[in-house]
Amino acid sequence: ADIVLRSSDTHPDGYPTVEAVKYLGELVKERSNGRIEIEVFHSAQLGQEKDTIEQTQFGVIDMNRVSLGPFNNIIEETQVPSLPYIFRSVDHMHKVMDGPIGQEILDAFSDHDLVGLVFYDAGSRSFYNRQKPVENMADLSGMKFRVMQSDLFVDMVNALGANATPMPYGEVYSSIQTGVIDGAENNWPSFESSGHFEVAGYYTLDEHLIVPEVLVMSKKSWDKLSAEDQALIRQAAKDSVPHMRKLWAEREAASEAKVREAGVKIVSDIDKTPFIEAMKPVYEKYVTSDKLKDLVARIQATE
């Protein structure tokens, strides 16, 4: 191949995002008659997300599949889909992010040496814990939940009356097991693959975060491509999304089945209204500029 694009992913081989970028590589190779190839470096071989984002900005690697979290303090617009309960459902999220609002957020990457290509699914994140079935906000009170090291997520968990405890992901399993923390929050596939369901027997589907992940390209690598190749990659990236969503749905169903089989108690019908009410101060703190207020309003107005 004339052009080899190196793409990073922190998820392990076989994970839907990894497979989606591999599939994208097949499309690109086929449509360019073998001129362009994509090599996927999975399992964080090239570094954690924060590091690989910098590497992509510097043009050291060409492509990167990352969560929106690490961008929250860099690109203002990415905070909006990261807001708790901003999307009513995964369908609502698809509608918003597939449309003009999603495109607007992707465009915002270009001010930071990046080209936003497409959004991939990451399901919805909910709370799990070792103590008891959480059915309302009172149940959350005082419980320690591990969150990612992000101001927004810390404030979210604290606003729900729980105790946000940032901690490296690798220590979560034994910390739940021994009781350093009561639980954490994640989507079905991660709840399952991390083995956390073995130590946290209660999963409450409050779906507080429905944050898509993003596939970006380095502006430096992008500018080296001809306009045709750029269009080719953009289109192939778009075409990889339905495939990704299909893989994701399969993976989610398989993980859910495994977790349910292990006897984890699932609380699925909760009244989310008080949870959403409790987010008012969080929205006030983070949705400050007119641009963000406008985006939030338009997302909420999207049917």
């Binding site: 090239l46 570094g47 992901y169 034994s174 991390s194």
Partner: protein, 426 residues
């Protein structure tokens, strides 16, 4: 070509005596420039390679070790070990090994173990008619025990090098039986050599003495219980336990033993900073090196290569062991963990080896490398303490190497030695 530049520059610099950290960093730098990538990535990897929360256990455990050595905790442990096993054949050799077991339970540094216990034991052994080489040999090889028994910051380095998804608590627990097995086989070797050289037997000092020394050493031994109990009962995490060890060591030496004075404290702190900075700079530079290995697809190529050679996991494990032993002869432990984990762990896993089990194999294997010339930090420490040349020590060390190697083989081929104990906690 890229690989030739990477390894060529590394080897050349290593041979002309450039510090290992800079050999790693500069060879990565040269290779990046050759590939035509922005060199900034070398320094980004260096910086993020040391900016890892779990790495904090290294300065803390080293610091705790320094405080314990300077605050008289180590000497009391040695005295207790003497009363317990001093009357066996080759008594002081057995004491040395038992002291390493006790010390290993509170420290994870083989070099600290060798300098603390060697510093106390080797002069005593000399005075009582033991040959110096025997004292140095026992000291050096038994200090590997400190790496195997929890706490072990090298296990944490391994967990991080493996992507942070291997439970540190499991790794700590997995090292216990192999560590004790190593102690047993070394005691056997010590007994064998002592018998051949006709070393004296000390009389048993009586249970009263044992009790008295036990009380004296209890605060030190309690640290084991506090660390293990604290982690298992959810008060703190495995990596936080390292900080608790520092606080506890400070408390015991300053308040209970009253041995920690301002000057001792400053000496312990600066010594810990020196050692930590040296070790962590190597780890940071190795992160750049490891990034290049991944970028150049070395691990993937190696897995394919190994699968071509053999489909037999037993053979592949043996091959990995031999490669690690050879590498360990030439390089130090922490950079080797960081460099070889991303390469060999996927290979081992492709052949069905549990990552926790592999971690134990890796640490024990590289621990042996610490005791072998030409580059063996612990061997150097032992020789420096005993004031003999490396050659004089190594000439008679074979029974101990053999005992360690036999343990390595047992640990490699009997996975339950490592995995049974952690499985009890699941």
């Amino acid at each position: 070509m890229e690989l030739l530049i990477l390894f060529g520059t590394f080897t050349t610099l290593l041979l002309i005596g450039t510090p290992v950290a800079f050999c790693l960093g500069v060879s990565s730098f040269a290779t990046i420039v050759y590939i035509g990538l922005p060199p900034v990535v070398v320094f980004q990897r260096l910086n993020s390679g040391v900016s890892v929360f779990a790495l904090m256990a290294i300065p803390f455990f080293i610091y705790a070790g320094e405080l314990m050595v300077r605050g008289d905790i180590a000497r009391r442990l040695v005295a207790l070990a003497g009363a317990l096993v001093g009357h066996l054949r080759g008594g002081l050799g057995q004491v040395n090994i038992t002291a390493s077991v006790l010390f290993g339970g509170i420290s994870g540094s083989a070099a600290a173990d060798a300098s603390a216990i060697g510093g106390l034991m080797i002069p005593q052994m000399k005075a009582r008619g033991y040959d110096v080489d025997y004292g140095v040999n026992v000291t050096v090889v038994s200090s590997i025990i400190a790496l195997m028994l929890p706490p072990s910051h090298n296990m944490i380095i391994y967990s991080i090098s493996a992507g942070g998804r291997i439970s540190i608590a499991d790794l700590f627990t997995a090292g216990i039986l192999p560590g004790l097995l190593l102690a047993l086989s070394l005691m056997f070797a010590a007994w064998y050599v002592a018998k051949k050289r006709n070393y004296p037997i000390d009389p048993f000092q009586g249970w009263g003495m044992v009790g008295h020394l036990l009380i004296n050493a209890t605060p030190g031994i309690l640290l084991i219980a506090i660390i293990f109990g604290g982690v298992r009962s959810g008060i703190f995490t495995a990596s936080e336990s390292s900080c608790i060890a520092v606080v506890y060591a400070l408390f015991i030496t300053a308040v209970a033993y009253r041995t920690m004075h301002w000057q001792n404290f400053v000496l312990a702190t600066t010594a810990a900073v020196r050692t930590t900075a040296m070790v962590l700079l190597v780890i940071g530079c190795a992160a750049s090196f490891g990034w290049l290995l991944a970028y150049l697809r070395v691990p993937a190529t190696l897995v394919a290569f190994m699968q071509d050679i053999s489909q037999n996991p037993l053979l592949v494990l043996l091959l990995i062991n031999v490669i690690l032993l050879i590498l360990g002869t030439f390089m130090d432990m922490s950079p080797l963990i960081v460099i070889t984990t991303p390469i060999f762990l996927p290979v081992a896993q492709a052949f069905g080896v549990d990552p926790v089990h592999f971690g134990v194999i890796l640490i024990l294997n590289l621990g042996i490398g610490l005791c072998t010339p030409p580059v063996g930090a612990v061997l150097f420490v032992g020789c420096a303490v005993g004031r003999i040349t490396v050659w004089d020590a190594v000439r008679t060390i074979w029974p101990f190497y053999f005992a360690a190697f036999a343990t390595l083989m047992l640990v490699t081929y009997v996975p339950s030695l490592s995995l049974w104990l952690p499985s009890l906690f699941h």
